[in-house]
């Protein structure tokens, strides 16, 4: 990396990079394959949460009981990425480093306040909070000589429920809009909430309980719909072939309410919302 900063490129699962090469959109002189660095494929406990090596395949993370237990939001979101064949090659780190504005995982790590560990041979490691990692379309805080090595996700807080909702054109397509939500409910009222949208801006868009007017209120449909409207009103989503800005705003409104509702239901232990939350 040090030697080939400008014309070298890291190859992880290749599910984004190889298509770019095939279309002649990326033309690196050199590819550096990370596949054989065993440390990068480790998945284990980290404090109360988990540590995921950058090269852990998405499918491996999705099927890991540890991930399901310690990071249920990640487990839920992974199912929305592409198809099993692609997830079997695509990596967790690759998705974050690629920073597609419609990808699921960036929204997940921001919602969960993950820490991203990056490294360069010259300066060693540094840790970047997920909220500071994504800086625009396909751009991150990674410097030219750095790679992402590890993702550290804190364990779920008490009385907290999670959910991931998205609408895409077909199952497996990138989301037109996706919403990751975490809601804590204590003694019948909301004690905390974070949610993050994907597909609506050049990077994940975060909103927290105070901004959403959710702190201390009882979880009901009305407050979730109001939160959806409030967020949607401040979005300036992109327009493309698959949906106008206005359509995406409508999806954000609907999906924020749906995601908050199912997360809060899970926080209270009932899981009656499988129908909406599951990928089509």
């Amino acid at each position: 990396m040090q030697k080939h900063q400008e014309d070298g490129r890291v190859l992880a699962g290749g599910q984004s990079l190889i298509p770019l090469l095939a279309l002649r959109l990326a033309r690196p002189a050199l590819l550096i394959d990370l596949a054989r660095i065993a440390e990068l494929a480790r998945l284990g406990e980290w404090e109360g949460g988990i540590s995921i090596g950058a090269m852990v395949r998405q499918r491996v993370a999705e099927r890991s009981p540890l991930v399901r237990q310690r990071a249920p939001l990640l487990a839920a979101a992974l199912k929305f990425i592409a198809h099993p064949a692609i997830r079997s090659r695509g990596t967790v780190g690759g998705s974050l480093a690629h920073a597609d504005p419609a990808a699921e995982l960036p929204a997940v790590v921001v919602t969960l306040e993950a820490e991203l560990v990056v490294a360069s041979s010259e300066r060693g490691e540094r840790t970047i909070p997920a909220a500071d990692f994504f800086s625009g379309h396909y751009t991150t805080a990674l410097l030219a000589d750095e790679i992402l090595t590890e993702i550290r996700i804190p364990g779920p807080g008490p009385s907290t429920g999670f959910s991931f909702h998205e609408v895409s054109r077909r199952s497996g397509d990138f989301a037109m809009v996706g919403v990751a939500a975490a809601v804590a409910v204590e003694e019948g009222s909301i004690s905390g909430a974070r949610l993050c949208l994907t597909g609506v801006a050049d990077r994940p868009v975060l909103a927290t309980a105070p901004e959403l007017g959710l702190l201390g209120v009882a979880p009901d449909r009305g407050v979730f719909e109001a939160a959806g409207e409030a967020i949607a009103a401040r979005l300036r989503p992109p327009t493309d072939l698959h949906g106008s800005a206005e359509y995406r705003r409508q999806l954000a409104l609907v999906l924020v309410a749906r995601a908050l509702r199912s997360a809060s239901q899970r926080a209270r232990g009932d899981n009656e919302d499988r129908r909406e939350g599951a990928p089509a």
Partner: protein, 785 residues
């Protein structure tokens, strides 16, 4: 179930009507098919095209020096150079080439007319190197305003795409009228009007276009490996284009990865490759990549219709006035022929009394109009959507309106108002059966209950006729070009070879023709070899298309097998010194009075004939040649029905059930029939929910990859329930009818009607075919648009 065919010599039918497993599948599924991409010839070179980044521009200069010097490059041809090597005027598959305007060249010379228009051809040692060199070709363009819609094209002030055309109208306006139009409108209680449109969509075969052309300078012969729907058509077009005698051109085709109408004749790029091979004396190969396929191979369906229907209060549709406008894209193609079919077919199975139909075809700076599975499908879309609009206007159930209008078999009118006979139609039966299958009253109750909970369910029907090829019309005998020729031969090893001009590209012809021949002749179907894909062996005939195969090739096979059987029995009788009427062929053996116990092997018989053991004067060539005119033929057709739920928050549509009641005559192989129906329905659902060939206002193509041209995947296609109707036999022998296009023809209106029904309480009036989620929310007013 269809009736089984009676078999003269071999006993009861054993194979026709059975879902025997396709003989081609093992080869294809194991990756052992041989496609044009698999062909490797010694000394073979690779072609890539320099293509226009602009939709409409003058070509001011093409500088190829740097590319010529690039690594691995053998030659670079610009448009002028190719024009000197081949007939400058390009032939577009299915296009009319009467020598008149517009005049244009194989590769662009003076102008480019769409994004992706080929400007230069680079031939190199590999495709990679050829593409590298393409980047070194400098083309200077002078941009012109792009004409990107028919509406713009019809504006006389729009910049002409072809200067010699005098405007951007390439056909029409033409008007034809049938019946007493004024009378029907005068008698009507109501005139229902709508502007109904189809959007641009396209054939997306798994395998794109491709050619390996190999010219031998010693013999002056051109050998071409092609992906084509007909080797003879490709041969004729290539020979004409290159100024070669047809005898000097041989076209071979192996397995073909789908086509849906795209691969007829030969395309501009393919001719250019053949011309390059001739100039270089080396094989030249070009395999279209997906970007090229989506951008320039061809597109279809973009047609709009102003419709007025004269109806009675009871829902009888008396007459229609229709104005059709086609956006035919850049280069002349199939559109005028499609206009004729749409006009003729638009009455469908209904008792329409009068029709006035006018049509205009415009050229635009978009991909050229090609045939796509059921090219004339607009007649069904427009009619079936119109029936529902009439029902809505009158407050009647759409099913009731259909039943009120659909013709009864055997009762007047015996013909569509446009002429085709309505012999043997089962449209009414298909509608009645469908209503039973879904229990319509029960659905309406469920729908009402769901609406009270804010859920939107809908049901949609559509009925169609598929001219496959349609009943014999006493006043229009079959065109000589449409006759089906076939040769059949008993080989020395006792197997049967069937030579056909058909060119299967996914339909399973190797199996279905073998089933028919086997039953008629008296052998196992595995003993029959269907020979396709070699112009030097093929009988005359244009190839596979237009849902003609089942009737035409099926019928030709049936008659050829019967004729060959008689001939073989004659020979056997000579050898065995008995009478042919005493013999039969059963299970590959000649048996009967005078035959040895255990039968005479066909191989022995063939060997005897070959060795000249027959009495002098016996015709010992164990071959039959027949020409079949289609016999009485008939319609395929039926009714489809979709039950859907629309999520009015997100605009997503879920298909709860999809049902088909259809009639394609006597089924040769029910599994193949159902595969054709399912594939067609999948494409039809894709058209409505996913697929659109989109352009921006400058004519840039927006759907150039599978990220943006969305095909239905397995998870997007619902289970499809299929029921077959009893066939009305019109011909004593041949009642197989085509089934390739019907699913794709009727699925779009079926689904649109269901969605319209679901959204009716929200005031949506649907007159378009493409209904992605965002559009549905616009139509119900949740978002602007």
């Amino acid at each position: 179930m269809a009736e089984r065919s009676p078999v003269g010599g071999g006993g009861a039918a054993r194979f026709v009507g059975a879902s025997v497993q396709r003989g081609e599948d093992l080869r294809l599924l194991r990756g052992q098919g041989r496609y044009v991409d698999d062909v490797r010839l010694p000394g073979m070179l690779h072609a890539a095209f320099v293509r226009s980044p602009l939709a409409h521009a003058r070509v001011v200069g093409v500088v190829t020096e740097a590319a010529r010097r690039a690594r691995g490059v053998v030659a670079v041809f610009d448009g002028e150079e190719i024009a000197r090597l081949a007939r400058p005027r390009a032939s577009i598959p299915g296009g009319t080439d009467d020598g008149g305007p517009p005049v244009y060249t194989l590769l662009a010379t003076d102008k480019v007319r769409l994004v992706g228009d080929p400007v230069a051809l680079v031939v190199a040692e590999s495709r990679y190197l050829a593409e590298d060199a393409c980047e070194l070709v400098e083309v200077r363009y002078e941009a012109l305003p792009a004409v990107v819609s028919a509406e713009q094209a019809l504006d006389p002030k729009s910049p002409p795409i072809f200067e010699d055309l005098g405007g951007n109208v390439i056909y029409g306006p033409t008007t034809k009228a049938y019946g007493d139009l004024a009378g029907t409108f005068a008698r009507a209680d109501l005139v229902v009007q709508a502007k109904i449109s189809q959007h641009r969509q396209q054939n997306v075969p798994m395998e794109g276009r491709g050619i390996v052309a190999s010219f031998d300078p010693e013999t002056g012969e051109l050998l071409v490996h092609a992906a084509t729907q007909g080797v003879n058509t490709t041969r004729a077009a290539l020979a004409a284009q290159l100024g070669l005698a047809a005898e000097k051109v041989r076209v071979l085709a192996g397995d073909i990865g789908g086509s849906f109408g795209l691969k007829f004749g030969i395309s501009r790029e393919e001719v250019a490759c053949a011309a390059a091979s001739r100039a270089l004396g080396r094989p030249v190969r070009w395999i279209e990549d997906r970007g090229e396929n989506l951008t320039v191979s061809g597109q279809a369906r973009e047609e709009s219709f102003e419709v007025e229907a004269a109806v009675t209060r009871e829902g009888e549709i008396l007459g229609m006035r229709v104005q059709m406008v086609v956006d035919a894209g850049a280069y002349p193609g199939l559109a005028p022929m499609v206009v004729d079919s749409v006009r003729e077919m638009i009455p469908g199975p209904y008792r329409l009394q009068a029709l006035e139909f006018s049509a205009t075809v415009a050229v635009t700076n978009k991909a050229s109009y090609v045939a796509y599975r059921g090219p004339w499908a607009a007649e069904t879309f427009v009619r079936e959507r119109m029936v529902d609009l009439v029902a809505t206007e009158l407050g009647l159930d759409p099913l009731e309106v259909r039943l009120r209008n659909v013709a009864r078999r055997g009762e007047p009118p015996l013909r569509m108002v446009t002429g085709p006979p309505l012999a043997g139609i089962t449209a009414r039966e298909s509608l009645e059966r469908m209503a039973e299958l879904i229990d319509l009253p029960e659905f309406r109750r469920r729908q009402a209950a769901a609406r009270r909970e804010g859920r939107y369910l809908g049901v949609g029907f559509a009925t169609y006729l598929e001219p496959a090829p349609g009943p014999r019309s006493p006043d229009s005998p079959p065109d000589p070009g449409e006759l089906e020729h076939q040769r059949m031969r008993l080989e020395a090893d006792g197997t049967l070879s069937v030579f056909t001009a058909q060119m299967p590209h996914g339909q399973g012809h190797e199996t279905t023709l073998a089933q028919i021949a086997a039953d008629q002749f008296g052998v196992d179907w595995e003993q029959v070899r269907v020979v396709v894909g070699d112009s030097s062996l093929s009988p005359a005939g244009f190839g596979t298309g237009g849902s003609r195969f089942a009737t035409m090739a099926g019928g030709a096979t049936l008659h050829a097998a019967r004729e060959l059987r008689s001939k073989v029995l004659e020979v056997a009788a000579q050898l065995l010194d008995t009478g042919p009427e005493r013999l039969a062929i059963v299970g590959g053996l000649v048996v009967g009075e005078g035959a040895p116990a255990g039968g005479l092997q066909l191989a022995e018989l063939a060997a005897a004939a070959e060795r000249g053991l027959l009495p002098v004067g016996t015709d010992s060539r164990l071959e039959a040649e027949v020409t079949f005119d289609g016999g009485e033929s008939g319609w395929s057709g039926g009714t489809h029905c979709a039950l859907v739920e629309v999520d009015c928050d997100t605009g997503r549509v879920r298909v709860e059930r999809y049902l088909v009641v259809e009639d394609c005559g006597e089924m040769i192989n029910p599994a193949i029939v159902e595969g054709q129906v399912r594939g067609g329905v999948a494409q039809g659902l894709g058209a409505v929910l996913l697929e659109r060939s989109a352009y921006d206002p400058d004519g840039q193509y927006l759907s150039g990859s599978f990220m943006d041209y969305l095909l239905p995947t397995a998870t997007d296609v619902p289970h499809i329930e299929i029921e077959h109707l009893e066939t009305v036999r019109l011909d004593p022998d041949v009642n197989f009818r085509g089934v390739g296009e019907g699913g794709m023809i009727v699925a779009p209106p079926t689904l649109c009607n269901a969605i319209a029904d679901a959204l009716a309480p929200l005031g949506a009036r649907i007159t378009e075919q493409h209904l992605p989620p965002s559009r549905l929310l616009e139509l119900i007013g949740t978002i602007g648009g």
